[in-house]
Point group: C2
Chain length 413, copies 2
């Protein structure tokens, strides 16, 4: 199977569509805001080209995708081929080094803000799991229970601990290699990272973090000091037990693009600490069921498909809430086709449908009005039900012993 061949083409298409979107959005004067705590987008979604420019990142290019396909031990993931992971920092150099025999480790994470994760939360972990298999990488996964506690006035440490444990199980269910993966909560692991955290804090002033994260004088001092906790795992020296023999290992961070400010800062300070700058690989957001102008959100159950949803719940949510770009009447739809740019079911299919040819067929048939919203939704429902069901089965198999193993600091292979 040669998945690799046709994919730069797919990516090309996505990019053209983005350019179109961008031009139209400019005309509408949409004010887009993407920070580590807020995402505000126009009604046709986030302008990712603009983000890349503003953040000073680079787009993942077709030659890079081809190279990843060549170096990978497993078929290229469709999220790379389709440009869901679209921007990067220094990924090209990392791949060059890998080609020359220099290994790297993966670092990703999550703030455990609620017990039940949704599909959007899963994206970086599924990507990271693929990267682990593809490049044989050790992987560290940070659960920032401290962060969530510091930012949410109502959250207790007991509650966030419970979220952390439940989230860890969902993450393990993505299929990480127990011999190569260390999952840690800041609350449990801070001690080992503390020397690096102090080194990082020493060179960051209030002014610097204020401008990056928008703090005020009323921000609590835990928030102000937190960025160092998220930066530390990007340096392999924060894991003395994991990387016993090799002191400085290259790091690749797969994450949603709103986390870039943390790692821009991390990259800025790396040379001062005589550490390697981590590479980044960033994803777009999974939009809310309700429309392209927001992210899936745990606080609105109807905006997202949760990993705990039953098949019925998934069907009802898609049928009832997934924003349709189809015509108001069947006649109108048959005549004008669906507006694919704003259609959530089609957008989700582009992410979750494994078969690119089928996506192209739907793009044609639904875009022309030949296929109806109900039919597209039905296809999406079945795919999402499958993904969630499989996840739930995997999760059920995770015992406390398995969890314990993943969360114990130990030498990774």
């Amino acid at each position: 199977m040669s998945n690799k061949d046709n994919l730069p083409k797919e990516n090309e298409k996505e990019k053209e569509k983005e350019k179109e979107n961008k031009i139209e959005e400019k005309e509408e004067e949409v004010k887009q805001v993407v920070t580590t705590t807020k995402v505000v987008a126009g009604k046709e979604g986030v302008d990712y080209v603009k983000i890349v420019e503003e953040f000073g990142m680079q787009l993942i290019t077709d030659p890079m995708i081809e190279k990843m396909g060549k170096l990978s031990k497993t078929p290229l993931h469709h999220w790379i081929k389709r440009g869901l992971f679209f921007s990067h920092r220094n990924l090209d150099q990392l791949l060059d080094k890998y080609e020359k025999g220099e290994p790297f480790y993966l670092y990703t994470g999550r703030g455990p803000s609620s017990e039940s994760m949704h599909l959007g939360h899963l994206i970086p972990f599924m990507m990271t799991k693929w990267l682990q298999d593809a490049f044989g990488c050790p992987c560290v996964i940070q659960l920032t229970d401290d962060e969530k506690f510091l930012w949410n006035p109502k959250l207790t440490l007991e509650k966030v601990h419970q979220f952390m444990i439940e989230n860890a199980k969902d993450i393990i269910a993505c299929g990480f290699d127990p011999e190569k993966t260390f999952i840690f909560s800041d609350m449990n692991y801070i001690g080992e990272m503390y020397p690096n955290i102090c080194k990082i804090r020493k060179i960051l002033t209030f002014n610097q973090v204020r401008s990056t994260f928008g703090f005020t004088k009323s921000s609590n001092i835990g928030q102000i000091a937190f960025s160092a906790v998220q930066a530390a795992p990007a340096f392999s020296s924060s894991f003395p037990k994991l990387f016993a023999d090799k002191k400085k290992v290259n790091c690749l961070i797969p994450c949603a693009v709103d986390q870039d400010p943390y790692f821009r800062l991390t990259r800025d300070i790396a040379p001062k600490l005589k550490e390697k700058k981590p590479s980044l690989m960033c994803s777009k957001f999974i939009p809310s069921l309700l429309g392209l102008n927001e992210k899936m959100s745990s606080s609105n159950p109807n905006s997202a498909i949760f990993l705990t949803d039953t098949p019925n719940q998934i069907r009802n949510k898609i049928n009832k809430y997934a924003f349709s770009g189809g015509g108001d009447t069947i006649e109108e739809h048959r005549k004008n086709g669906a507006n694919l740019k704003v259609d959530i079911p089609f957008h989700y299919l582009k992410i979750f449908h494994p078969d690119q040819e089928r996506i192209e067929q739907i793009r044609k048939d639904y875009g022309s009005g030949q296929m109806l919203t109900g039919e597209v939704k039905k296809e999406l429902i079945s795919i999402l039900q499958d993904i969630v069901k499989k996840h739930q089965e995997n999760r059920k198999a995770i015992t406390d012993e398995v969890l314990q193993k993943f969360m114990t600091p130990r030498q990774l292979v």
Copy 2:
């Protein structure tokens, strides 16, 4: 032996002298500054009554001293009787509770800023050791290696670790009970305290710590967040392994008065955390050999007697540098006597001479001009040589195993 009887009287004398000093200093318009990082005093020393008023503390009263003497299992320490420990917060309530059978633990500490400690550094530890014996208390001693690293641009983690180890040995040499004492470095122990540290940080804003500690926007984020690390040990819940059975234990903090701002803040936030407010017992500073208007300082070797000084070094320092209040000529001295208010040898004798009657004799004879500076210095030299020699002998006996025991988190008796 009834040391207790004559001591309120001694304290009375000190207080009268302080009042005199205060009046004179006001006439001179001395601008006194006492913060956690700076002490600036007039040429006749720090105005402690003013500090107590400014900080909102209370003076330790004679009835309190009498009560301590009554409750103590050992003879009352002369530093309490002589008012070297002069101010407090809630010490009276703590003693009342102790009398009713409620135990307390002791918490003190040090920032390991250099390898060799001086006599001034030893004061809180010697007082704490006495309190441990007198009231049978468990004791925790914090070495803030992180603080010193964050504040000193040139200090490396390796260097501050070395200082921490050397300082820990000097502290143990004060005679702490190995079954009742836990010495910890933040760099090693931060993990266990981190839940409490996060709770504290969550309720402290940049504005609050800025006004207390004088931070600016260019302060590093480690400094800004540090106060929580010094506050946490004042709550017994920060030591789950030490106080396994009794969750909330009263805390008494013996320290130099410049550390009060940390604990004022700690007491302010205690109710919000449903923790007990720690009690405080604060000492005056040991002045520099060079004069009353500064503290002993590690950065000027001639300003202090170090615990590593040889008998010869002690003799030379006192003879050469200890600021004398004696007359410029013998004739003048015999006629006018010594100015005891600014005389450093007499000031040191008042702290370190064990015999109160002898101090009174010297006060009379030296103050009248009958005794010469050289004679007073000779008596001081002999006393300091003895203290330092005994300390050095104690320290020599401290093996790595002993150090290890003190620094291992474990249930205290």
